[in-house]
Subunit: 328 residues, 4 copies
């Protein structure tokens, strides 16, 4: 039985708590949150204790911590968790600063604690199946990857202002997916971005529509595009073209119902909410984390994966702002 402490009882913390509640070999023994009522409510539902974050991090009855708190707190919490030899499950981004992530890599390596960067999309059953078939050679060597991600609508402007910008907040998922699929590091990146959705986003110094080209040393190419809006729901698509064919993962629609009228054949919009779209992915990543820790296998995505994605996000931000390609 893996004993887990949960830091952060917000939306995503609750998702993880629900997954763990359904598992046999893990349980949450303590939760912490800056909002006492949030911690209380979740603790009751889990039959777990409410503790202070520091107490969770230093507890001797806890094997692993889930860090689902705001990004700004990650740096100290990860260090504390490493010091007390906890396995660490950390929401993305690990930290806004690449330098900080490098420090944390050292700290966790020296402490020899397992570290899992929660890029949930790798665990989406559809994307995971695509990647497995890619690795199995079903379409031969990768040549071109196209990743399309569109949110149904922009987050609140307050969130945008502290988000680190579209590339670090939203496209970072796609950067990790690109690395996951490509299987070779990128060496060059060009980014463009615009404010087409909401002028307030532009006034906040951010973009809401963006496209990036990445290339590897061997000449493989990846295209990513992001938009902060999509009238038809949460648009999450992947396409990989290889020497022997193409693999793609289509959107997940609300239902399988189609209506035919004089206007044609109409299927449902895509699932609109990320927690619903990636429900299976969130459950699968938590199970994977617990399996990694239980079996003593190094977790994947690792803290290095968190670092590399952040490096790409930084480079894209720079490229978009300077108009120049960035060598990685």
């Amino acid at each position: 039985m893996l004993k887990i402490g949960l830091l952060g009882c917000g939306r995503i913390g609750q998702v993880h708590a629900r997954t763990i509640k359904g598992l046999e070999h893990a349980k949450i023994v303590a939760v912490a949150d800056a909002v006492p009522a949030a911690a209380e409510s979740l603790a009751t539902a889990l039959a777990a204790e409410v503790r202070e974050p520091d107490a969770v991090l230093s507890a001797t009855d806890i094997d692993a911590v889930i860090i689902g708190t705001p990004t700004s707190t990650h740096f100290e919490q990860i260090q504390a968790a490493a010091e007390s030899s906890k396995a660490i499950f950390c929401e993305k981004p690990v930290d806004m600063s690449v330098d900080n992530i490098r420090i944390l890599m050292d700290v966790t390596a020296k402490a020899n604690v397992p570290f899992f960067t929660a890029f949930n999309r790798r665990f989406d059953p559809n994307f995971a199946a695509l990647q497995a078939r890619l690795r199995a050679g079903e379409i031969g060597a990768v040549e071109l990857i196209q990743i399309t991600s569109r949110d149904p609508s922009p987050p609140p402007i307050g969130y945008i202002k502290t988000s680190g910008g579209l590339f670090r907040d939203m496209m970072i998922h796609d950067f990790d997916m690109a690395r996951f699929l490509m299987g070779e590091e990128f060496t060059m990146l060009s980014a463009v971005g615009s404010c087409l959705v909401d002028p307030e986003i532009g006034e906040a110094g951010d973009v809401d529509t963006a496209a990036v080209i990445l290339t590897t040393a061997s000449g493989r190419i990846c295209q990513i595009s992001n938009s902060r809006r999509a009238s038809y729901g949460y648009d999450q698509r992947i396409e990989v073209h290889g020497a022997l064919g193409m693999l793609r993962a289509e959107n997940i629609l609300e239902t399988s119902v189609e209506v035919a009228t004089a206007e044609g054949f109409r299927r449902a919009p895509t699932l609109n909410f990320f927690l619903e779209r990636y429900e299976a992915a969130y459950a699968a990543e938590m199970k994977a984390f617990i399996d990694f820790v239980s079996s003593g296998t190094k977790p994947e995505p690792s803290i290095e994966d968190g670092l590399q994605a952040q490096i790409l996000a930084d480079a894209a931000t720079q490229s978009q702002q300077t108009g120049q390609p960035v060598a990685l």
Copy 2:
């Protein structure tokens, strides 16, 4: 060069003329129509002569005739064509009377003239590909066939009154398709029909919505349904379930364009007009006819195929009216 006489210069006669104009080894030398202007106009476009029907049927400079005139004239024209040893391409139905078709089978057999019953759908590239793959064993032995045919809207009530009824006028195509796909004759048939689209059709003694079950001696099953209306266009689908899998041919849409909005993903309606939907089929059947005649191969669909489809249409009409299954 196969020299052809065309009887009937209406919509379908013009389709055949256009096909033949594009071919190298056949030409229309004479045309005939009850409406002189129709014959004149088509003759000019083809650089062909206008003749009386009888003159076309008895001509010595003509090898083959296309009979695209009203069904009531087929019986005499086929006999005349057989007497003067013409290869015969005849629009469906060969005749409304099964007895008459039997007589024509004898006449054409004795005259040893090739006879092609123009069940155009067998030549639709999609249905033809499906049937070829079925015969090649791609899904093993046939178990269940489902044929769905819906017209965009009912024909004029005047047409309905002389049509012989839905089973003989519309479902006859599906009966032929069922035989084409099944590869085993049917031994039992049950039909139901209703008037749901237009009360005038019911007053004329016909139905506008119908379903039929057919079975073979070995227990294979075929379901057919027809409707005289479909808001989304001309609906023409086939599905065959076999021991090893399923083959199906989907509808052909107006364009490949899809729009995604808050209402979902919408593709175009189906092609709405039968001449457009089956454009390739009409061209292919004419080429097949010319190839059969040129090569001396017995045409398919044959007059026997015309007979069998008519027998099924009669049986369905009887079953719908009596409420009892009909043994074939």
Copy 3:
């Protein structure tokens, strides 16, 4: 808090237990099973008691019972549950005998206990959405319904022999769906059936491939087809054609991944296992039952729905055996 007793701790009982475990306003207090180990195991997982079936049925600390035992035990259990005023959730079929179901209708009516017949497919989110849109008038009046159900492979021959036959065991789901969608009772039925999949099924007096046509007094038509095998998974489709258009629910595929190679574009097979395919439906039907009981609303599907489906299954069996249509 609705206190529930669970009779039957097999596959389906476990599904219901899992659903209830995740709910706030209901809990399973006791379980029973003919196999003590099955009852023990589930009781432990639920922190519930193991009791004898009779003790569950007569318990004073239980508000509702879930009857997930073999069909042959339903008759007595339902009577006992009614006598002790329990709300009843009963797996289909209620009983193999229409006469017995009529008796149970009386008994439960007199006892004034809520009775829910667990036709889970009504609660599949896709089929439920289709039905809701149909009722909302999206395609106008219903004209033609087509229901296609194919199992991946036949059940064990031992199961077949006690199943009551394909129409009562498998197509009964489609009969209920047909009634659910049509919104008008059927008045006439014709059935055909064959043994094409496995000769042992035929030797057991059953069929493995079948098709039925049903009609209503107003002339609406429903076609159903069943097969005991489908190489590509569990095939569950519905199509409704109405005056203004068509609504259909397509299959649910294992993943959204598509591969394109020289052989074309290939998507995944359908979900293969009924518990997986209808996972959401099983959860939704249990929530609905608990809501009905909690709110005092009459459950739907009711025992009358269970009766009507059984009447259709009996009629289909008779029609298939006699070769004659059956008036309902």
Copy 4:
């Protein structure tokens, strides 16, 4: 009756000849080709004369010329055609040199002759429908365009060597499509390219896999990707994301047949041959040209469109070679 002279009787010249043969208000009166037999053969089929190219260009009995000869001959032929006041239909690219195209713009403007640059894809019924709906505002203002073009396999290496490179030979179609859809000129372009398909292409100084990002002054973004191979056929897709939704045109498959087996649901590959895929587009562009000339409307795509596409192709070539973005 528009009298047309055809220069170039190769594959594409024959396509245009076939279209014109079926039209009522235009005819080809003379053809020319460097290979006499090619000219003779086509002339016979058309009942047209064979003439020398110069004689066609200066003829007084000819209203319009179709220039389907190698690109290197366009410059002189267009000048000659302009001098003798012929309407000009010119295959893409107008010329490999942007300077030359500017000269030809002057020449044809001064001569006041209609000039049509044959970007056939604008006339594909699917892409044309998409663009019309875009212009009609169906998805609001354009934000992101994604164009995917993949050839089934690379052309012969000899062709590659004289082609001007992938951006000028293949992606030029996509550049024109991007302008056609965007409705605003591009101001910045970044291109990457690799040799992944065939090392010989790299040795010839060209790339076979490429991606480009284009942006406009108002911040709209276009992504294009090209590959010289696709196992599943000729891949031609467009997707436009706008403020109110997304419009996309999918591939055209060989047939509508789908097979379902244990491996899943498999549809046909895409149409493999560009002449077949764009058959309708070639016919429609010729009809459009004849309509423009007959009605005195300025043709579209114009020579300016030919120039702009060439400018983008040059910029992409430069960007790919220098690794730097190019301002337009």
